[in-house]
């Protein structure tokens, strides 16, 4: 085990912790920006440090294609290759294959797929995924799991869950650098509480450094989503970090943190930036919108980031979706927003003001009190009283928050 996880503060199920990884001492809850190809699109590594990024996620599938894991290994690992002194996490590569390649197929041996280079059939086994990730050298590596869409039902879900459990042993056996890299197991089981429970128990028996909740953020309804998170966090060990994969929106992160999750990753903040959308406490701000053209305010007057301190919505309006600088500046702000959200979660849990933080967050996002029902339900389970920011149920239609 190459990590230490110390809980510094709690509020009911929510926890704030210090996660000591080989390359960085992190504070949780934390958001990990996705740097697919060894770079966060349009940002320099010193900007990422300025913003407060603690862990960057790299995609094994992409890195294995270019520049290849062998090259990264030869040049001293991904930290050195991209000159990122802080922590890194790589995924297993399986999810990317299944989602990006039409011809991916999963068998007991591994994920078979057609090479995007020469079209030849290829096979990614658990052993190989770990070997590639050992070469890349991230602080946290992910087990190869059998990924199924959350919207799928029936025996395939059960098969995938049991296969994920069989593969974890192959991953553990293949892992050559357990003193430098932490292998996280991934809880599968779809939306079925019984399967999820079997998977959690199976993984916990393996005593891994950390656990991820997989198979979510794939189009399932929000009520199913939070219930799976709540169920898994309740039965995963207290002393290990919990990572909800592919999540997400600021609201999802607040809810999952209240339920006891610690780590998140999502392409959303940087992807949406490239389309001209900024994250703000009220929801989102679409800078392309004509109303921004003569708006001399910053994106968010409460934001302390370099972009909000210097630029007006009017100027950003004329950059977004046209000039590289538009997506650079918006990505900077959006990641700053996510990092600030992480810091606020951490400090409010430690200071015992977490419920107030949650209420303030929800009030800004839902000024009319129309907090979605799934959030209300989740918060009840999390033991966070949000009645002060909710109008009584069924009196207001459920409008999605957006300010542009």
């Amino acid at each position: 085990m190459a990590l230490r996880f110390e809980i510094l503060g709690r509020f009911n199920r929510a926890r704030a912790a210090r996660l000591t990884l080989p390359h960085f001492v992190c504070e949780t809850p934390l958001f990990m920006p996705v740097g697919t190809q060894g770079t966060i699109k349009g940002l320099t590594t010193n900007q990422l440090e300025d913003i407060g990024c603690q862990i960057i996620l790299g995609n094994t599938y992409h890195l294995a294609l270019r520049p290849t894991s062998e090259l990264i290994d030869e040049l001293g690992g991904l930290h050195k290759f991209m000159n990122w002194p802080r922590a890194l996490l790589t995924d297993s590569g399986g999810f990317q294959m299944v989602s990006l390649l039409h011809l991916a197929d999963i068998t007991e041996e591994g994920v078979t797929f057609q090479s995007p280079v020469d079209g030849k059939p290829m096979l990614l086994t658990p052993e190989e995924s770990i070997q590639i990730q050992n070469r890349i050298g991230a602080d946290i590596i992910m087990a190869l799991d059998d990924v199924v869409k959350t919207t799928i039902t029936g025996p395939r879900i059960e098969e995938a869950m049991y296969r994920t459990l069989r593969w974890i042993d192959r991953c553990i056996a293949a892992h050559k650098r357990p003193k430098e890299q932490n292998l996280f197991g991934i809880v599968q089981g779809g939306l079925d509480p019984v399967l999820r429970d079997i998977c959690v128990q199976g993984l916990v028996e393996r005593n891994l450094p950390g656990y991820a909740i997989g198979g979510l953020a794939g189009g399932e309804d929000k009520d199913s989503f939070w219930r799976v998170v709540a169920q898994c966090t309740a039965s995963l060990p207290e002393s290990k970090p919990r990572y909800v994969m592919g999540v997400g929106y600021p609201l999802d992160i607040v809810v999952c943190s209240a339920l006891g999750a610690d780590m998140y990753d999502c392409v959303y903040p940087t992807r949406t930036a490239r389309f001209g959308t900024a994250l703000v406490p009220e929801g989102v701000l679409r800078l392309k919108h004509q109303s921004m053209a003569d708006d001399t305010r910053p994106i968010d007057s409460t934001c302390e980031c370099m972009v909000c301190k210097n630029y007006t919505r009017a100027y950003l309006h004329c950059l977004v979706t046209k000039d590289a600088m538009g997506s650079q500046l918006l990505s900077y702000h959006n990641l700053y927003y996510m990092m600030q959200l992480s810091r606020n979660l951490h400090s409010s849990i430690i200071e015992g003001t977490f419920p107030k933080f949650v209420c303030d967050f929800l009030t800004k996002m839902f000024p009319e009190g129309n907090v979605p029902e799934w959030v209300c339900n989740a918060m009840e389970v999390a033991g966070i009283d949000i009645s002060s920011c909710c109008t009584p149920l069924n009196t207001k239609p459920n409008i999605h928050a957006s300010s542009g």
Binding site: K41, T44, C318, D323
Partner: protein, 427 residues
């Protein structure tokens, strides 16, 4: 639109307060000179002192194409504190009222301590379209379409944007136009200068535009007429529009010989190192950096030595990947190259990243490649200008120029013919 009061007529006194220019060294045997441009920025009244010959950083809508604003302070300072922009970049938005409300370009771009130089033509996004220009105004081809800009409109832009330096509207024509059309362009440029002078805002320093194409008489006539006007410096336009580099010196000399020595001269359309040296030899003080922009887009990094040493690059390097001055980081030879673009370079890129990483970023089309390349190339080209100033100061400019050109010619000839930069679109 703008208040009438904002377009008050200037008495000339304010202007000299905002900019001072002094020649420090004249080249003994030629026209090259080292000067000091002192500018009180309209952003925060900070005084910046730029040694000339100097490079103005090319921008898109006021910011470098890729270098993020929080990285600008890492570039050599004060060398990097003059930013070039075209008011035409803001044709679509924000509107002038909004820019004015924000407080002009300094506030718009969050760069108070920088000097902004407004030039209608930028050679990248805003190109003169001489067939559509007419007696009323100059036409420009931009990504948002073609615009005819009249002197009065142009002055409204200047008044709202409040640049530190600005050049008068010119009718820049292609080298292939008729003698008659070229003559017209000179007449119009002078008329528009008079209009600009009459509408000049209180602050901001005016450089008078000089055109005249590839005609010595017209070049001389235009320069002499502009020299009679109350301007603080000169902008020499009409180059890089189909003219040949070999004949250019004649026209440049005709212009600079007609201008008073004590005022600064800016040029447009000269970008390659040879062209910059040619301009400096003719007595030009300020250049733009479109060359860097094009290099960066193509994946090139400047590598020519910045001391008197011989170029230290690997002799085994394939000529496709390199000439004497630059390397193409897309080339597969850099796949595993963990060295820096230039060993010892103090730029952010070389301090932090290897050639192998930039090669990877280019291969996978990641924007960070352009960010890192623009940082290094800008840093390197600014150092090239410092070297030139040192050579002039030491009285060795001609020697420096000849050596540089010979080295590069030698390498260009040794390289495969298709890498000939002077004939490639990289200019």
């Amino acid at each position: 639109m703008l208040q009438e009061a904002e377009l008050s007529i200037d008495d000339g006194a304010q202007e000299s307060k905002n900019m001072k220019f002094a020649i420090k060294t004249f080249c003994k045997s030629g026209r090259a000179r080292v000067g000091l441009l002192q500018l009180t920025t309209l952003g925060n009244k900070e005084i910046i002192e730029i040694e000339t010959p100097a490079l103005l950083l090319t921008t898109r809508k006021g910011l470098p194409a890729f270098i993020p604003p929080d990285h600008l302070p890492f570039l050599p300072s004060p060398d990097s504190r003059l930013l070039h922009f075209s008011p035409m970049h803001f044709m679509e938005c924000p509107d002038l009222k909004t820019i004015s409300k924000i407080g002009g370009v300094h506030r718009l771009l969050g760069l108070q301590g920088y000097g902004f130089v407004a030039v209608p033509r930028d050679s990248i996004l805003s190109l003169p379209e001489c067939n559509s220009s007419n007696k009323n105004g100059a036409s420009f081809e931009t990504p948002c379409g073609r615009f005819l800009v009249k002197p009065l409109e142009y002055m409204k832009m200047i008044s709202s944007m409040k640049p530190d330096l600005w050049v008068s509207l010119a009718d820049e024509v292609h080298a292939s136009v008729t003698v008659k059309r070229n003559k017209v362009s000179v007449d119009r440029t002078i008329t528009w200068l008079d209009t600009c002078i009459s509408l000049k805002p209180r602050d901001g320093v005016l450089f008078g535009s000089i055109v005249g194409g590839c005609n010595v008489e017209e070049r001389t006539r235009c320069a002499q007429e502009v020299a009679k006007r109350n301007v603080s410096g000169y902008y020499i336009g009409g180059f890089g529009l189909g003219d040949s580099i070999d004949e250019r010196s004649t026209y440049l000399h005709a212009v600079t010989d007609s201008l008073p020595k004590e005022k600064p001269r800016q040029v447009c359309g000269l970008g390659l190192p040879e062209e910059v040296l040619q301009g400096i030899a003719a007595g030009i003080d300020l250049f733009d950096s479109t060359y860097i922009y094009h290099l960066t887009l193509e994946g090139f990094a400047l590598i020519f030595p910045l001391n008197n040493d011989k170029c230290t690059q690997d002799p085994q390097l394939c000529p496709m990947a390199s000439d004497y001055t630059k390397i193409n980081l897309k080339a597969t030879v850099y796949r595993k190259d963990t060295s820096r673009i230039v060993e010892g370079c103090t730029c952010y890129t070389c301090q932090n990243h290897t050639k192998a990483y930039i090669n990877h970023l280019l291969n996978v089309h990641e924007m960070l490649a352009q960010i890192l390349l623009e940082i290094h190339n800008t840093h390197h080209y600014l150092s090239f200008f410092r070297l030139i100033r040192e050579a002039i100061t030491e009285g060795k400019f001609e020697e420096f120029r000849q050596k540089f050109i010979q080295n590069r010619r030698g390498h260009l000839l040794a390289a495969s013919p298709i890498t000939f930069e002077l004939e490639s679109p990289v200019r």
